[in-house]
Symmetry: C2
Subunit: 197 residues, 2 copies
């Protein structure tokens, strides 16, 4: 799970992560909004009816969900458990609320928060991007003030001060987590003491 305030560089960093680890899979969310031209069901999203989505919520089949502009979006628990059981690592580019729900409902996963060096640098980057109006930028900065304190419960903090070094640190987290003994303990089965078999 990777979260960040808007402008911290999360999207670019996640793209680099996928390039570095081609076996990392991106999660496919469920969505109730109409399918758009060029989108493919089951690839961009699993497009489902609102009633079906609501039934999934009631049956606690979603690890996280949210309403955005009147549409429902969510990640199923099955997506996460199937991947874990199949030994597949999934990358979720997700906001703080979604990440908090996953921590609560799934109780596993590795949570990484990308930080800008400070607020003034974040502001500078949002203006430099040139994609948002002043009003939108001000809203993003206000949101950042609520999002950044959430970082305290994440497992890892990566400051995107220098893009290349932030990329390397993010990649090191994936690489190191794959060596953690609760994930690699089965390696010790290669070492049954001679004569035990």
């Amino acid at each position: 799970m990777v979260s960040a305030p808007s402008g911290a560089g999360k999207t670019s960093l996640c793209r680099e992560l996928i390039d570095s680890f081609p076996d990392l899979r991106q999660s496919i969310s469920f969505a109730t909004r109409p399918i758009r031209k060029g989108e493919r069901d089951g690839i961009d999203y699993h497009f489902i009816d609102t009633e079906v989505f609501q039934a999934m919520v009631e049956q606690k089949q979603l690890a996280e969900w949210a309403e955005v502009h009147g549409n429902l979006y969510g990640t199923s628990l099955e997506t996460l458990t199937d991947a874990a059981e199949g030994g597949v690592d999934i990358l979720l580019d997700i906001d703080c609320q979604g990440a908090a729900q996953i921590k609560e409902n799934y109780q596993r996963g590795v949570f990484v928060f990308i930080l800008p060096p400070d607020y003034s640098e974040l502001e500078k980057r949002l203006y430099a991007r040139g994609t948002d109006s002043d009003e939108v930028i001000q809203r993003r900065l206000e949101n950042a003030q609520f999002e950044i304190p959430q970082a305290s419960w994440y497992d890892y903090l990566v400051v995107n001060d220098d893009f290349q070094s932030a990329k390397e640190r993010l990649c090191s987290i994936v690489s190191a987590e794959r060596c953690r003994s609760h994930r690699t303990g089965q390696l010790l089965e290669n070492f049954t003491v001679k004569g035990d078999k």
Copy 2:
């Protein structure tokens, strides 16, 4: 803390780690054996009298210690706490018993166990090294059968199947651990909400 059975490649991997992270410091142990020609007190070891060492043991000043061939060797708790407080990372190349004592007495630190791919590969490497007699190699292999199951309580397992990739994984552990939020939480102090000051 890095442990491994003899022949797994720990010494070479730790050397690469120090090359990759020049700010990693190696711990200087206390020792009661006589200083040898070319050794420097306070650099190779802190050379102390047996009585002083025993007093340190009694006053629980050592994070780990052991007797080897009639001499006493140990790592002081102060070495570890001073480094932690000074923001310095220390590398300890240490056997399983020492690592277990540190886990017990210091209750912090990151524990990494280097594994060979399997026993037959370990045996092959010990013979290929050409430095030990058959008898010594057999003793090393017997020790490995006691040491390797200890790996289960370590934080990370790194299989030295391919040296370069094992090196990268070991380096990724240092890099990732430096991003862990319990070590980097003070970064969030850069983000006091405007108007709070």
